[in-house]
């Protein structure tokens, strides 16, 4: 018997024709509830999603799929959790609204109390236990999310390491969660917070008096200003793939060992010119 599959001749197997039957969809039952949504800026919201079965085990920095049933299909996107595993009973996600996206406009309009689908926590972007070295966190946009979880985790340690958080955004309004970050510092976490806007000439940034430039371009001066030896750092990068790539190059050039650089490149919708590189998780659209 001869069968054809995508033009290949498969000899001697009873597979004439194509698959027969009804498509079995993966088990993506709703298993969580949207319990809160807070607009942090015109384009960024914090969503709080509580799993039916409890928060379960996860580590700060991991990502989960958040899905909504649309036309009998579950549309999912991965998002980093901003929650602290030790204290949270729900996952917090920072979601940037993509006007033409398949999911985020729905997420912004979803009534509180709507049932949603939440995947299992995944990924290895996480703190190293008992690492006492200074920690450098570099984020763009909603790439801040995993660092909120990590900072909250570090703040609970009896002797937390020195930490530096560089957060970049095109518009100052998207430098979200500044008050929370300041509160962590006020609570005892030795934290230097460095927000920076990449488009200082944008009218939306009128009145901005902080640092300017893309996150990766301010790294060298930040590290000089705090007098940290590059070979004694644990560096974490998260957000736009272009930033992550450029920051990796900058840190390596500055003497940070490759094994001390941990990166999470955010996924962007297929066809989005801002996407680059093959390993992209926790995203947008």
């Amino acid at each position: 018997m001869v069968a054809e599959i995508a033009g290949m001749s498969l000899v001697g197997r009873p597979i004439a024709g194509g698959p027969r039957g009804v498509r079995r969809a993966p088990d993506l039952a709703d298993n969580a509830v949207l319990v809160a949504r807070e607009l942090l800026s015109p384009t960024v919201a914090r969503l709080v999603v509580r799993p039916d079965a409890g928060i379960g085990a996860f580590v700060a920095g991991q990502y989960l799929a958040l899905g909504v049933r649309i036309d009998d299909r579950v549309v999912q996107r991965p998002y980093s959790t901003a929650s602290d595993p030790a204290t949270a009973d729900a996952h917090e996600f920072l979601v940037r609204r993509v006007p033409d996206g398949a999911l985020t406009p729905r997420l912004w309009a979803l009534p509180i109390g709507t049932r949603v689908r939440l995947g299992t926590p995944k990924g290895a972007f996480s703190l190293v236990a008992d690492d006492r070295r200074p920690h450098l966190f570099v984020a763009t946009g909603t790439g801040l999310a995993p660092f909120l979880g990590m900072l909250r985790t570090l703040a609970r340690r009896p002797n937390p390491p020195r930490t530096i958080l560089v957060h970049g955004a095109a518009r100052m309004e998207d430098l979200v969660c500044g008050d929370e970050i300041a509160a962590l510092a006020a609570g005892g976490l030795p934290l230097l917070y460095v927000p920076t806007v990449s488009r200082p000439d944008d009218p939306a940034n009128g009145g901005w008096r902080g640092r300017t430039g893309r996150a990766e371009t301010v790294l060298a001066s930040v590290l000089r200003s705090v007098n940290l030896p590059p070979n004694g750092l644990a560096a974490f990068l998260c957000g736009n793939p272009g930033m992550v790539a450029a920051a990796e190059i900058a840190l390596l050039a500055g003497g940070v060992a490759p094994g001390d650089i941990h990166a999470e490149r955010y996924w962007t919708a297929p066809g989005d010119p801002s996407a680059a590189g093959p390993t992209l998780v926790a995203g947008q659209a």
């Binding site: 597979i15 027969r20 991965p78 093959p278």
Partner: protein, 97 residues
């Protein structure tokens, strides 16, 4: 468009891809399958599986070399008719041997 799991996965089934897939669209029956299968309707093309696979078995369907082109249809078909997909995997594997 979607990622596809091709011939190098057969009889290896490392499953690193399952561990990283953010949308849980990779599956197989451990008792019956020789490879894992990606649901093309669930895949969001994030590429996490491609990077995780130690066999280099995963790639975008539009980048499949001709010798592995059948695996796009095999992955799609498994979610409809697993027996058909298993027979197809056996046939492709036999042909390769």
């Amino acid at each position: 468009m979607a990622y596809v799991i091709a011939a190098p996965c057969i009889d290896h089934l490392d499953q690193a891809c399952v561990a990283v897939c953010p949308v849980d669209c990779i599956s197989h029956d451990p008792a019956a399958d020789r490879k894992a299968y990606i649901d093309p309707e669930g895949c969001i093309e994030c590429g996490a599986c491609e990077s995780a696979c130690p066999q280099g078995a995963i790639m975008l369907d539009r980048r499949l070399p001709p010798a592995w082109a059948a695996f796009a249809e095999i992955d799609r078909g498994w979610w409809i008719d697993p027996e058909w997909a298993r027979d197809a995997v056996d046939a492709v594997d036999t042909q390769a041997a």
